[in-house]
Amino acid sequence: MGGTATAESVIRTVGLTKHFKDVKAVESLDLTVRRGEIYGFLGRNGAGKTTTIRMMLALIRPTDGYAEILGQRMVPNAVRAFERIGSMVETPGFYGNLTVRENIEMQRDLLGLRRSGWVDEVVEMCDLGEYLSRKASTLSAGNKQRLGLARALIHKPEILILDEPTNGLDPVGIVQIRTILKQLSTDRGITIFLSSHILSEVQQIATRVGIIHEGRLLEEIALDDLRLRNRTYLEFAVSDAKRATWVLEDRLGISDYAVHEEGVVRVYSGLDRVGELNRALVEAGVEVTASRVSEDNLEDHFVKLTGGSDGDPAPEPRVGRRGWRR
């Protein structure tokens, strides 16, 4: 059973597969999460994120393959593993007839914990102090999410598995959760596995990401590697992209560029010639409505990998020499 995960990897799935009749929800998923990481599990709605998490937590049986956490195969009654895991799957559920305090205390009892300062700390950390006497059914979606997180943290887990933890939260709540997670990772060394489809969120918090699309893991990459890999570019929004490319190539001799949707041109070389570029475009009668120096972010990377927002493959940008960018 256990013992196959290396000392470094704390979560591992091997050929993890789930089919719901004809629907292949997850297909041969092999992912690894190392101790101390904040791992962002990215995918669109329906990509297979929640199904993967449910299999990892032994809530559903895999059609094939398996998941291991802390060296233990995740099967029903993996009691030893669950002692070290905190989790929140989708919208957390509570006993609405009980107060927030009673819900937390029930969790504490079930975990076999005595009352400790940590419980109070968790309540404070999740900003639940003023709601302790309120029935759980009366909480807002955001506060329910906070209560779910508090419940997941109450036994000081080594691993936190969160499915869309910022769902239903207002912007302030999102920042709060992000801060808490960063704090847990930094101060307590908790390994965090979180799924999300909000890429900007993940970019701000994760150290490594796995991108799942149509049930398949397309890539696992450290965000630092992603930053190194992605190039800085100068982006222009122009009135006439065709004429702009003529200016770039014939007037300025720049061939390392790409034309994106809606008259957006990205220039990858000559970044120290911003003024000259601007002037040349304007002189050629190309109106420049915006320009900025930028780099490919996680969102760009995600779209490149998974295709456009409508589910079709992302359109390839036209590239230098008035052809297609590699």
């Binding site: 895991i85 989708e90 006993y95 007839n97 009980l98 029930m106 969790q107």
Partner: protein, 267 residues
């Protein structure tokens, strides 16, 4: 196991469902008390009921409508053994098991470091406690009603006999509940479990007067004490009746426990 048990009882704190099930029992007791008062005031009603013939005459002849302690305590127990009693107790089981899905708490419950079968066992203990309390409440309220109406002939032996019958009937129904719980879990809510219980009772009603009926777990309560719609017990349970019901109980427990292995499976 103790932790699971404590949690399961705590989950009922402040639950309106507890109150609603008690209200059903109170309503039945009040109805019976009013009926007793009317029958005591005008004994000719009994004769008029008998004139309807068929099972009504049979009921009157058997003394079913005589207002006395043994008869009326038996009516209290028959309230439990009949359709509404079985459905009420089945509802308790569907609530205890189904709410985890309806409230979305199953996924938390099943990712705790507590063996899943402990939750099943703890829930069955809660169900047992709840339905025994309902049966005792029914019996107690009927007794209070008889005192209020002034029914003569009280003796403790009648109370003990009714209590024994009540516990036997409650046990007979309880043996069917793990299966109801399992069906509830497969339906991830209350409806499927209740429909199953209703169908099981209806099927049983269809052949309640046959000798085969004694082996049908949902008819066993009726054959122990009769029901308000069938006051005369004509088919008596045998050891095999309890054996079959016990097998249904064990099968239900096994299936419910196995169901937790695929607790979140929507396939």
């Amino acid at each position: 196991m103790t932790r699971a048990l404590k949690a399961e009882f705590l989950k009922l704190k402040g639950s309106r469902t507890l109150l609603w099930t008690a209200i059903v029992v109170v309503a039945y007791a009040v109805l019976a008390t009013v009926l007793n008062a009317v029958l005591l005031k005008d004994p000719s009603i009994t004769a008029r009921i008998a004139s309807a013939g068929g099972s009504f005459r049979q009921a009157v002849d058997s003394g079913f409508y005589q207002v006395n302690w043994p008869n009326q305590l038996r009516v209290a127990v028959q309230g439990v053994s009949g359709t509404w009693g079985i459905l009420l107790f089945s509802f308790v089981a569907t609530y205890v098991f189904g709410r985890e899905y309806k409230d979305g708490t199953a996924k938390n419950m099943l990712t705790l470091p507590v063996r899943r079968e402990y939750f099943i066992a703890a829930k069955m203990v809660v169900v047992a406690t709840w339905i025994v309390c309902l049966m005792l409440l029914s019996l107690g309220l009927h007794a209070v009603g008889l005192v209020i109406v002034g029914v003569p002939g009280f003796a403790w032996r009648h109370v003990w006999a009714a209590l024994g019958d009540g516990l036997a009937v409650t046990l007979a129904i309880y043996l069917t509940l793990p299966l109801v719980a399992w069906i509830t879990m497969t339906g991830r809510g209350y409806l499927r479990g209740m429909l199953f219980a209703l169908a099981a009772v209806m099927v049983g009603n269809g052949f309640a007067a046959t000798s085969l009926s004694r082996y049908y777990p949902w008819n066993l309560p009726v054959h122990l004490v009769g029901a308000s719609w069938m006051p005369v017990v004509s088919v008596h349970p045998v050891l095999g009746s309890w054996v079959v019901s016990s097998c249904v109980f064990l099968a239900g427990l096994v299936l419910a426990t196995r169901q937790t292995d695929a607790a979140d499976d929507v396939s």
